[in-house]
Symmetry: C2
């Protein structure tokens, strides 16, 4: 098998210097149309693909960006990767997907190492890495461009894309109130995620506005996973006066609630309304399908990558709209 074609092969075939090929490759000015055409033909003929290694070594760009995540919802990170990937594809840039562990004391060092090793041009942080102070400090110190997806803290500090978690949780709670519910259980998300607090806050805000007193026993901690949702549901339904609706901070936990309801022969939504958050595929794969908040995850990721590539200077924010998706799991109180 022939070795890979280099810029030199192209320059020979086209009868120009390697620098000219480089100019065509980078769409620089000062190349005659005729020359450009000749070079492009030669590149096509040789199936030339420039070496990223050489480009990053010699130039200021590496044509690579990294996504750093520590999120255990496969649906969520799949959509994030998908959105970033789509943007990268348009830009002709490669994406490095990098799992991480926010709990690790070496996290910042690992991120630093990643940057040194790969020379990535920019970084995208997804929750909860968005709120790890050491990581933010490391990135700031290096002056590398980065964008956060749905950050929970220090909003003003860096560029980010996000949705309004507070408003969304408020919307959902209001939806339930409008259906006559007064005792509404709430399952909090994973403590690492700032979104958890915000959703809780939205829930309380809606209750306040409706003049419904906040009752601590109706609020239970969760971990954003099925099992913790189920466990919380057991506790809520064991209350002397159980809720008529349960709002879980994400779909996985809502699925857990549904399972418990089924097991106890509680009909959803007649005897109990259940609401989720995220609108992952899971929401429509359970029975009854979940009323939930459509989080524009893929678009958030797509925009985040877009911000990274855009020339806009300074700190930029982009807010995307969420949407209340009403399905079969919620209904009027009492059926």
């Amino acid at each position: 098998m022939a070795s890979r074609a280099t810029i030199k092969d192209v320059s020979n075939l086209a009868g120009v210097s390697i620098k000219t090929v480089s100019r065509v490759l980078n769409k620089e000015k000062y190349v005659r149309d005729a020359t450009r055409t000749k070079v492009e033909a030669a590149m096509a003929a040789l199936k030339f693909s420039p070496s990223l290694a050489a480009r990053s070594l010699a130039g200021r760009r590496s044509f690579q960006i990294a996504l750093i995540y520590d999120n255990h919802s496969p649906f969520y990170i799949h959509q994030i990767q998908d959105g970033i990937w789509a943007q990268c594809r348009e830009q002709g840039v490669r994406m490095l997907a990098q799992p991480a562990d926010v709990g690790s004391p070496t996290l910042a060092a690992e991120v630093g190492g990643l940057i040194d090793e790969t020379h990535v041009d920019g970084i995208i942080l997804s929750s909860p890495v968005t709120d790890a102070p050491e990581v933010l400090a490391e990135l700031e110190a290096r002056g590398i461009p980065f964008v956060r997806i749905s950050p929970g803290t220090n909003h003003a500090m860096t560029s980010s894309v996000f949705m309004d978690d507070v408003q969304a949780a408020d919307d959902m709670t209001t939806h339930l109130i409008n259906h006559g519910h007064r005792r509404i259980g709430f399952i909090i998300g994973h403590p690492n995620h700032m979104a958890s607090d915000q959703r809780l806050f939205g829930y309380r805000r809606a209750l306040d506005r409706a003049g419904i007193g906040f009752e601590p026993s109706l609020v239970r901690p969760g971990q954003f996973d099925f099992a913790s949702g189920a466990a919380a549901a057991e506790l809520l339904l064991d209350l002397p006066e159980p809720p008529t609706a349960i709002f879980a901070s994400n779909d996985d936990m809502a699925a857990g609630v549904l399972a418990v309801a089924h097991r106890r022969d509680i009909t959803v939504p007649d005897a109990l309304s259940v609401a989720g958050f995220d609108d992952t595929e899971l929401a429509s794969a359970v029975w009854p399908p979940l009323t939930t908040i459509r989080q524009p995850t893929r678009d958030l990721a797509y925009s985040a990558a877009g911000l990274l590539f855009s020339e806009e200077a300074g700190v930029v924010h982009r807010r995307l709209q969420h949407e209340l998706v009403v399905r079969g799991s919620t209904g009027r109180v009492g059926g």
Copy 2:
């Protein structure tokens, strides 16, 4: 902020030549212990991370491998990525996750471009890219090491890791037969995936052995997704003599079957047994939880990457065990 430390900075600090630093980095022979210690101290002090770009340009290794996938089950690819990532981490190698489109006529060229651009040391193919002849030809032609995860065709041709889909489907079907089922519906997987055929074959093999005649109307095509599973279930349950059990080729489709059963007020498993395949998280997030086949996805991926790094020459195969996981969605016929 200081620019990144280079091998030269390390060599200066340690008072040795850059070549010696390189030797320490690559754990080569012929470095005195005292020297090695000195160099390592210098590397640590400078937080030195070698440039991958420079290493791949100068050396024969790039310390990167690529995963190529075209699988739309988030659960599945998440586990695959996770397994490969774990192995890469142990080996100090980076993973490039590359979505692809098996239908695209330019797929082979894209894979070729990826290799040229990134100089990856090896490639892991996951289903259904495992069975794209142009891609295999391209990789063969270049002589780049690669491993396939669960390939469907030409098993002998390349290294691979896999499970026995035929036997697994046979096991599940036998499980249903043992519970008294005689009319067992089957929903085929996505036609792009060879595993679909194999699971169908296992289903038929079990029926044959039990002396149950094969009935074509009980077998419906699907696409490995929720909607197609639901659609197939509608057709099966509309039959004049509907099945008492439905075996879907994956969990997503089985979830679709469950939803239809709920909608029609058919109790699972009393009036209808439902079985899935894969044991993704979805299987335990629906009600009732699915009886399914645990596919060792993460381990398959981990082993695949392991094979890539191993020195074993030639074509190597590794088979991993599946497991029948019995949960609440299947039971004796007639309840």
